[in-house]
Amino acid sequence: MCKPAHSDDPTITNEERLFHRVHLTQLVPDDDTGFARVSSGAFRHKELSINIESVLQSEGKTASACLKGNPANKLVSITAGAARQYHQTVCRDPDPLNDNLSHGLVCGSKNSSRVHEGLRDAADWVIPAQAPPYTDILAEKRALGME
């Protein structure tokens, strides 16, 4: 659970986009469409690390900064409002030592399928901007020795 200091921060508006990296191994095929989809397994951590878009922007950074040094990841977003809808708290957790001032947390139990499935359904693609063909993801996995 989040520490008391990680209680919900009302200065983070419901419209705020929260970026979350998704590892290639957590992208799965939708056999009906042929496109990749994010597994709900990417949204199970009790303290889900995110980057707060407005803080990133205030630093002069773009969403792509979240993927720096993480080539085996893609980027998705949920809104703070969507997280709260599933009884999560959203807070700031800046990490200046790692030049990650926009770091934040989405805290709360995600064991319920309603929560992790809900968060997954609420996620939008950021990088790439749309769901990529799963064959592209599979090729990346194979190139990196993941499958």
Binding site: H23, V28, D30, E147
Partner: protein, 179 residues
């Protein structure tokens, strides 16, 4: 020697750490036949018989195994060597016992024509296996610190179901609908 419970009379499987190659044999052969191979073994059993699965550097052709086996094993190989912090969020290495559990479960519920699942590592060292097809979602979760569960959703009818992974009859039924 590791064994895999398949519902149909099948085989052994060989995996490698850095590259996936398979060898399917029936009846099962002893690993002693390959003394120079570095093997990693998993043990499984099933009412219908015993089959073996082991990881090793070996290449052979595939014969009559169901189509789902090879990609599934390949996916397990892909996640089994994920290192600490693999997801950049402190993800833990995948628990080998959970690999055994999930393979054992697959052996109990998969039919010859079942579609291959996606195998997804979880940050806590657990595993999630899942299918998304025919407007249905089926996920079987093996968390590191909780009992395994399944979750099912039919997106066309808005039907939702969930329960214990030990309800294998229900899982077989759901998988049949997905095939």
């Amino acid at each position: 020697m590791a064994t895999l419970p398949l519902r149909n009379p099948l085989a052994t499987v060989a995996l490698t750490r850095s590259q996936f190659k398979s060898r399917w044999e029936y009846p099962v052969v002893s690993s002693a036949a390959f003394p120079d191979l570095n093997e990693q073994e998993f043990t499984f059993s099933a009412p219908v018989g015993s089959y073996r699965v082991w990881v090793r550097d070996f290449v052979a052709s595939m014969n009559t195994l169901p189509a789902w086996v090879r990609p599934t094993i390949s996916a397990f190989v892909g996640i089994q060597n994920l290192s600490e912090n693999w997801d950049s969020y402190g993800g833990k290495p995948i628990d080998r016992d959970l690999i055994k559990q999930s393979l054992y479960t697959l052996g109990l519920i998969m039919q010859a024509d079942s579609p291959a699942p996606a195998v997804v590592p979880l940050g806590d060292g657990g595993i999630q296996i899942e299918w998304h097809r025919k407007l249905q979602d089926l996920e079987i979760v093996f968390p590191a610190d909780d009992a395994p569960q399944f979750y099912y959703r039919n997106r066309s009818t808005a039907t939702v179901d969930e329960g214990s992974v030990y309800d294998t009859e229900k899982l077989i039924r759901l998988l049949t609908d997905l095939a």
